[in-house]
Amino acid sequence: MSGMSMKLMLRDAGIGIALLLLIVFFSLSTEHFLTPNNISNILTQITINLILAIGMTFVILIGGIDLSVGSMLAFCAVVAGTVLTIPDLSVFQAVCLATLAAIGTGVVCGFLNGWISAFWGLPSFIVTLGMLNIARGAALQVTDARTIYSFPPSFNAFGSQMVVGVPVVFLIALVLVAVAWFVLSKTVFGRLLYGIGNNEEAVRLAGHSLMFYKVAAFTIAGALVGIAAMVYMARLNIASPIIGIGFELNAIAAVIIGGTSLNGGRGTVVGTLLGACIIGVLANGLILFGLSDFMRQMITGVVIILAVIIDKYRERITAS
C-alpha cells in the first residue's frame, strides 16, 4: 500500500463516516427512512447524478470543469428518444441503436469540449458554458421543443427493475464506478490524468501529449452523459429537451463533497460515489424529517461549503 493511496483511502473513510452518521441520524429520527422501499427509492434517485458525477470526476481531476452535462443530457435523450420511437424496429434493435445514439452524441459533444479547450488553450469553464447553450438549443431544435414519449413498455420496465431490492440502474452506476476506479488508479492513463491535474507542464516535458489526455477526459464525461440519458429515459419514460437543467451543478457538488480538489490532481471516484450518496440521503432524509424542499436545498448548499472547509483542515493535518 503506497502512502498516497493510503492517504486517499483515509480521506474516503472520513467521507464514508459522515455518510454513515447521516444514515444513523435519519434512521433514528424518522420512521420511514430505513425501509427497503425508501432505500431503493434513494438509490434510484442518486443514480443519474452519480453517473454524471463519475464523468465530472475525470474532468475535475485534470483541473477542468464541465458545465454542459445537464444540457448534453437533454440533447442525448432527445436524439436517443427519436431513434427509440422509429417504427418497424424490434425493441431490442431500437434500444441498442438508441443507446449507441445517446453515447455517440455525448462522445461528440464531450470531444468538442475537450478539443476546443485544449487546442486553443481556453478555460474549460468558458468552452463548456458555450456547449451548455449549444446542446440545449440543439435539443430544442431537433424536437421543435416537443417531448418524445411512448417508448417500448419493456424498456420502461427495465428502468424500475430490481435485484434483491436494489434498482438495476443503480447497479449499472456501481459497475461504472468500479471501472472508473480501476482506470484512475491502476492504469498509465489514470496516472497521467492525476499528473496533468498536479503539474501539466512537467507531464508535457516528460513527453506526454496533453491534448490526448484532456480530450479523453471530456470525451469520457460525454459518454457517461449518454448513459445517464438512457437511464433517465428508462426511468421516466420521456425524452424532453428541457430535462437536466442544473444537473451539472449537482454533479459538481457530488465530486466536491467527495473530496476531489477543484484545482485538479487530487481525489477519487469512490469519494464521488460517497458524495453522491450524501446528497441523495440528505435530500430524502430531510424531506422525511418534515423539512420543505427549499430548506433541503439550503442545507445541501451548506454541506457543499462545509465539505470544502473540512477538506482544507484535513489537508493541513496530513501535510504537517
Binding site: 498509465v188 496516472r191 503539474n199 512537467a202 516535458l205
Partner: protein, 521 residues
C-alpha cells in the same frame, strides 16, 4: 530615497547590544526536527551571512523570524525586548522584514502598484493617488539603480532578475531594523549583484542589520561582517568574516571533506562522434538570422555560459521542442531531425533537466516513484496497466544509484530537499537511458553536498558516452565540469573557450562584450 533616516541609524556603535538575538530555538514538524537549537546574534548595522546546506534549517529559521512558524522552544529578542511575532505583519511592525526567495509579486499589476500594495496612497475618497504613487515608486527604483524600468509596466513584463530587485525596493519602502534577504542573488547576474551589494552597504551605513542568506561563499566574503553556519538545524559556529576561510565554511556546512570531490580534476571523455549538431538553429525569440550553430560530441560536457537573458534557456527549450524552433537544422547522430514536441525529442534520446524544478521538473504533490517513472511509464506497465512493484523497484534502484535521501517511493516529491529533488529529476531522465542530456542550472538551490554528488554523476554519465549540454550561471560550476564552454550573448554564440583556456575573466569578457555590442548602437 524613501527609507528615512530614523532613530535606528544613531544606534550604530552606540551599543554593543545585539539588535536580534536567538537562543536555542527549536522546532519540530511531526517527526522531523527542523531546528535543533539555533543560537545567533546580529549586531546593529551588521551584515550577517547565514549559510548551510538545503535542509539545514535556514528556511524554517526565516519563517520563525517573520512570524509564519511558531518555534517550540527557545528565546528570541529584538532590540532587547522579547520577540514573538504571530504574523508577518507583527514582524514588520517590529521592524523585521524578509525578501523571500519565492516571488510575491502580482504579475498583472504595475511595478508601482506592487511596491505600494500594502499601503496604496489614497485620497479622501479612497481613490488611489496614481501620480503620487508612481512618482514615489520611481524614486524607490532610482534609489536602487533600476532606472531603466518604467513603474507603470506590469510586473509580468520584467525578467526574473528585475523582479527580484523590485522585491528589494518594496521591502525598502518601510523602515526596518532587520532586513532578511533569502538567496537574493540566485537569479541575478553579476552586474545586478553589484547593484544589490551597493544597496546593502548603504543600509549598513544607516545602521540597518541585514541577514544575508546565500549559497555563494564568494558573496558571503564580499559583503558580510560575520557569518553563521547551520547544519541539521543547529548552529555550527558564528565567525567574523576575517577570521574564517572558504574551506572552514564548507567543512562547517557539510561536516566532512566533501569538497575534494568538487575540486577533482576532470578527465575529458569527449569522443569524436558528433551526437547533436545545430546549424543556424533559431527559435521564436531569436533576433538573429544566423541563429546558433554548435556540435556536441559523444561523452562531452559542453557548457553554455552567458548573462541572464542571453538566450541560454530558450536554446535548450528549442532543442527539446518545448518551444517550437523557428528555422535551422538539428542533426541527431548526423541525421536531420525535426521535433514537433518534447515527446519526439525524448524518443530521439534527448532528456531535459529544466531550470525550474518546481514548475516544470517535478510533480511535487505526487509520489517520488511517480516522478521517477514519469518519462518511462511504458517500461513499468503492460498494456497500459501500471506495475507498482516494477515502479518501486525502479525507484529504489535509482534511489540507491544517486544516493537519494528519501522516506520511501510513495512519499511526495515535496518532502525532499532541493538537492534530492534534483536527483529525482535526473533519475526521471536516466530511466530513459538518453544519449543527450540538456541541463539547465543543474545545481540551482542545491546544497554543497548534493552538488558534489551531482557533479560526480554528470562526469560518470559523460564517461559512459552520454553527451551533456550544461547551462549554468555559476562559472566555477561550468569550469569544474565542462570540456568546453561556449559563451552566449543576445541569443548568439560570442565565444568559445577550451578547457585549457578556462578563466572567469575570459568568459565574462565575452559575455559582456556581446552585450555592449548590442546596446552600443
Amino acid at each position: 530615497m524613501t527609507y528615512t533616516d530614523s532613530g535606528v541609524a544613531h544606534q550604530t556603535g552606540a551599543s554593543r547590544l545585539p539588535i536580534l538575538d536567538l537562543h536555542d530555538v527549536r522546532k519540530r514538524f511531526g517527526g522531523t526536527v527542523a531546528l535543533n537549537g539555533v543560537t545567533l546574534s546580529v549586531a546593529p548595522g551588521e551584515v550577517h551571512g547565514l549559510i548551510g546546506e538545503n535542509g539545514a534549517g535556514k528556511s524554517t529559521l526565516i519563517k520563525v523570524l517573520c512570524g509564519i512558524v511558531k518555534p517550540d522552544s527557545g528565546a528570541i529578542s529584538l532590540a532587547g525586548e522579547a520577540y514573538e511575532p504571530h504574523t508577518p505583519r507583527d514582524a514588520k511592525a517590529r521592524g523585521l522584514q524578509v525578501v523571500h526567495q519565492e516571488f510575491n509579486l502580482l504579475p498583472f499589476l504595475s511595478v508601482a502598484e506592487n511596491i505600494f500594495i500594502e499601503h496604496l496612497p489614497r485620497n479622501l475618497f479612497g481613490v488611489v493617488k496614481r501620480n503620487d504613487m508612481n512618482a514615489r515608486a520611481r524614486g524607490a527604483l532610482d534609489a536602487i539603480g533600476l532606472k531603466d524600468i518604467d513603474v507603470r509596466w506590469p510586473v509580468e513584463r520584467l525578467g526574473i532578475a528585475h523582479r527580484q530587485l523590485v522585491e528589494v525596493a518594496r521591502a525598502l519602502m518601510t523602515e526596518s531594523r532587520v532586513l532578511i534577504l533569502d538567496e537574493p542573488t540566485a537569479t541575478l547576474t553579476s552586474r545586478e549583484t553589484d547593484r544589490l551589494f551597493a544597496i546593502i552597504n548603504d543600509l549598513r551605513s544607516r545602521g540597518v542589520s541585514v541577514i544575508f542568506v546565500s549559497h555563494h561563499l564568494d558573496e558571503i566574503f564580499r559583503i558580510c561582517d560575520r557569518v553563521t553556519v547551520l547544519r541539521n538545524g543547529e548552529t555550527v559556529f558564528s565567525r567574523r568574516i576575517g577570521e574564517t576561510s572558504h574551506d572552514e565554511l564548507v567543512r562547517g556546512m557539510v561536516g566532512q571533506q566533501l569538497q575534494k570531490e568538487m575540486a577533482s580534476e576532470a578527465i575529458s571523455s569527449a569522443g569524436q562522434d558528433i551526437t547533436l549538431s545545430l546549424v543556424n538553429f533559431r527559435h521564436a525569440q531569436s533576433p538573429h538570422a544566423d541563429g546558433i550553430s554548435l556540435d556536441l560530441h559523444k561523452g562531452e560536457i559542453l557548457g553554455i555560459a552567458g548573462l541572464v537573458g542571453s538566450g541560454r534557456t530558450e536554446l535548450l527549450r528549442a532543442i527539446f521542442a518545448a518551444e517550437q524552433p523557428l528555422s535551422g537544422t538539428l542533426l541527431r547522430d548526423g541525421k536531420p531531425a525535426t521535433f514537433r514536441s518534447p515527446r519526439e525529442a525524448i524518443q530521439a534520446g534527448i532528456g531535459f533537466v529544466t531550470e525550474d524544478r518546481k514548475e516544470e521538473g517535478l510533480i511535487l504533490t505526487m509520489p517520488i516513484a511517480a516522478n521517477v517513472t514519469l518519462a518511462s511509464l511504458s517500461s513499468i506497465s503492460r498494456v497500459g496497466l501500471l506495475d507498482r512493484k516494477m515502479e518501486n523497484t525502479m525507484t529504489q534502484q535509482f534511489g540507491a544509484d544517486l544516493k537519494l535521501k528519501y522516506g520511501g517511493p510513495s512519499r511526495h516529491a515535496a518532502t525532499l530537499s532541493g538537492g534530492n529533488q534534483q536527483k529525482v529529476v535526473l533519475a526521471k531522465w536516466l530511466a530513459r537511458n538518453p544519449q543527450v542530456l540538456l541541463l539547465d542550472e543543474p545545481t540551482r538551490g542545491v546544497d554543497v553536498g548534493a552538488k558534489a554528488e551531482i557533479y560526480a554523476l554528470i562526469r560518470r554519465l559523460a564517461e559512459k558516452g552520454l553527451a551533456l549540454l550544461v547551462v549554468s550561471s555559476e562559472l566555477p560550476e561550468l569550469m569544474t565540469l565542462c570540456d568546453r564552454i561556449m559563451v552566449m550573448s543576445q541569443h548568439r554564440i560570442v565565444g568559445e573557450v577550451p578547457r585549457a583556456g578556462f578563466s572567469e575573466e575570459k568568459i565574462l569578457t565575452y559575455a559582456y562584450q556581446g552585450e555592449r555590442r548590442q546596446t552600443g548602437h
